[in-house]
């Protein structure tokens, strides 16, 4: 009953698909022509075709590194979800815990991860250090969004639950958790991108110490060897991974909320 009119949505949908493609093709063409017209050597700026060729030629090494980075990101995100949600539930059940622990969460969040990474590399084995870095960056949006959601329950609904004598657990699971779901999913979408950033930053920090095998390490390594096309190829893969993570989490959000939440509804034209 809330569908957009077909004519408008067909044109709109075509436009949504066509415009980004046109813009992307145009940008690539401009990039290639700048390289060719100025005769730039590949170690200054490789053209997009050379980057693509390198991507295919080095796929063996690069895909392995991509998997490493993706595995770190996914694991960090999983831990961030577990930790962030559990901590948010703890905050929601005890104001005292919230007041005492929230400052720590904020400190972890505002301290630049690039500054924490070298320290973690002293105490932890590189792979664990990278994972912890990615986790630190990813967990805050989950924690703060979920905590906000758990606290943002309609007052009349709270009264209704009180009227029927609902205890703390029933109120939590039948009211506060579902009410927090849209907030949590919003946090998750941000955290997915941040987990990748955290992993990349920590890999670079670890890579400078001569270890690691993720995509970011490939960039550093290729930089030392002046293999600029390969730097671009690895960078391209990181971007694509970020886009894919965002798309997957957006889909999760859409399908979880589509039956009831405002954010997932089609608007009347």
């Amino acid at each position: 009953m809330t569908k957009t009119s077909p004519a408008l949505s067909a044109g709109e949908r075509a436009l949504r698909f066509v415009m980004p493609v046109v813009a992307l093709v145009a940008a690539t063409a401009i990039w290639e022509s700048i390289v060719r017209l100025n005769g730039l050597p590949p170690y200054i700026l490789p053209g997009p075709f050379l980057v693509f060729e390198t991507l295919i030629a080095d796929w063996g090494t690069l895909s392995e590194s991509l998997l490493v980075t993706l595995r770190t990101t996914a694991l960090a995100l999983l831990l961030a979800v577990t930790g962030g949600v559990l901590l948010a539930l703890l905050f929601a059940s005890s104001r005292l815990v919230e007041l005492s622990l929230f400052p720590f969460a904020v400190i972890l969040q505002v301290t630049p991860i690039i500054a924490i990474a070298p320290l973690l590399l002293i105490y932890l084995e590189p792979n664990s250090a990278v994972l912890v870095c990615a986790w630190i960056v990813a967990f805050f949006p989950i924690l703060s969004n979920t905590a906000l959601g758990l606290a943002s329950v309609d007052h009349n609904l709270r009264d209704l639950f009180a009227l029927y004598g609902a205890g703390r657990w029933k109120t939590l699971f039948l009211l506060r958790v579902p009410a927090a779901l849209p907030y949590f999913l919003g946090g998750l979408r941000i955290a997915g991108g941040l987990a990748l950033i955290g992993a990349v930053v920590a890999e670079i920090a670890a890579g400078t110490a001569g270890r690691g095998s993720g995509l970011a390490y490939r960039i550093v390594e290729s930089g030392y060897r002046l293999n600029v096309p390969r730097m671009f190829a690895a960078l391209l893969l990181i971007s694509l991974a970020g886009v894919a993570i965002f798309a997957v989490l957006s889909l999760v959000q859409h399908f979880t909320l589509r039956r009831w939440h405002e954010s997932a509804l089609d608007r009347e034209p």
Binding site: D154, L157, L163, K170, L175, R259
Partner: protein, 257 residues
């Protein structure tokens, strides 16, 4: 003369306010020295200007907040079995119509849920919408779901806080009539809060008029109407006369304040 409930139980007090005062934590005195009783089977309306504390009186009656002075007596165990309808439908957006109506039963761990849910949905005429989500319903239908949810525990006391204030007039008139039918068939007691003189005269057997803040009872009306009331009462001379009387009293109360 209300013919809704058996005459014997009609005058029996179900609950009573005795010297009840309510001061909010911010120092505002919402209610002052409130004394009245709720008789079994009546349709009692608390009428008054916005902010006069009538909603607070309803919340006190529901036990959602405690009085700062006086006490609320619940004479009958039935008076603890309460249905509450808020001004907004206040539905869980993630649950279907049936899920929303089932909620009080889940919260109170009552068995035999599905039959009761079906009954409650039938009372408000929403059987066909049991699997719809709240966002798919109109404002009037959402309010019906809210009423079904309040009725599902079969309460003796139904408390309604300006439930139809946000609805258009045609929907409101329809729901007024449906509410009267429910009240007659279920033999329950209704305490209804409104700021509409016309709505209060149309629905009630008795009206308590509140003064502006701090809310006290200024005066009381008993509404005489042929039962069962139907749309015809709305256009009758008796209705007009009583609306005029209540309006005049309200004007006096507002002038004195």
């Amino acid at each position: 003369m209300p013919a809704a409930a058996p005459a014997a139980s009609l005058n029996a007090p179900l609950a009573a306010f005795s010297g009840v005062g309510k001061r909010f934590p911010n120092g505002v005195l919402a209610l002052d020295d409130l004394d009245f009783s709720i008789r079994s089977g009546e349709f009692l309306t608390l009428l008054g200007p916005s902010g006069c504390g009538k909603s607070t009186a309803l919340r006190l009656l529901a036990g959602l907040t405690e009085p700062t002075e006086g006490e609320i007596l619940r004479h009958d165990a039935d008076a603890r079995e309460i249905g509450f309808v808020f001004q907004d439908p206040t539905l869980l957006p993630w649950a279907t119509v049936a899920g929303n109506v089932r909620l009080p039963l889940r919260l109170k761990n009552i068995e035999g849920q599905e039959t009761r849910v079906d009954e409650a949905l039938a009372l408000v005429g929403l059987e066909e919408f049991r699997n719809a989500y709240p966002r798919e319903l109109s404002g009037g239908m959402k309010m019906r779901v809210s009423i079904a949810r309040a009725l599902v525990t079969r309460p003796q006391l139904l408390l309604m806080d300006e439930p139809f204030a946000a609805l258009d007039e045609i929907t409101r008139f329809k729901l007024n009539d449906d509410l009267l039918t429910l009240w007659r068939t279920l033999h329950c007691t209704v305490v209804f809060v409104t700021h509409s003189v016309f709505e209060s005269v149309y629905l009630s057997t008795r009206i308590l008029m509140f003064t502006p803040r701090p809310g006290r009872i200024a005066t009381e009306f008993t509404i005489e109407a042929p039962e069962p009331r139907a749309g015809r009462f709305r256009t009758s001379p008796e209705y007009g006369t009583q609306c005029r009387e209540v309006s005049a009293a309200l004007a006096r109360v507002m002038a004195e304040a």
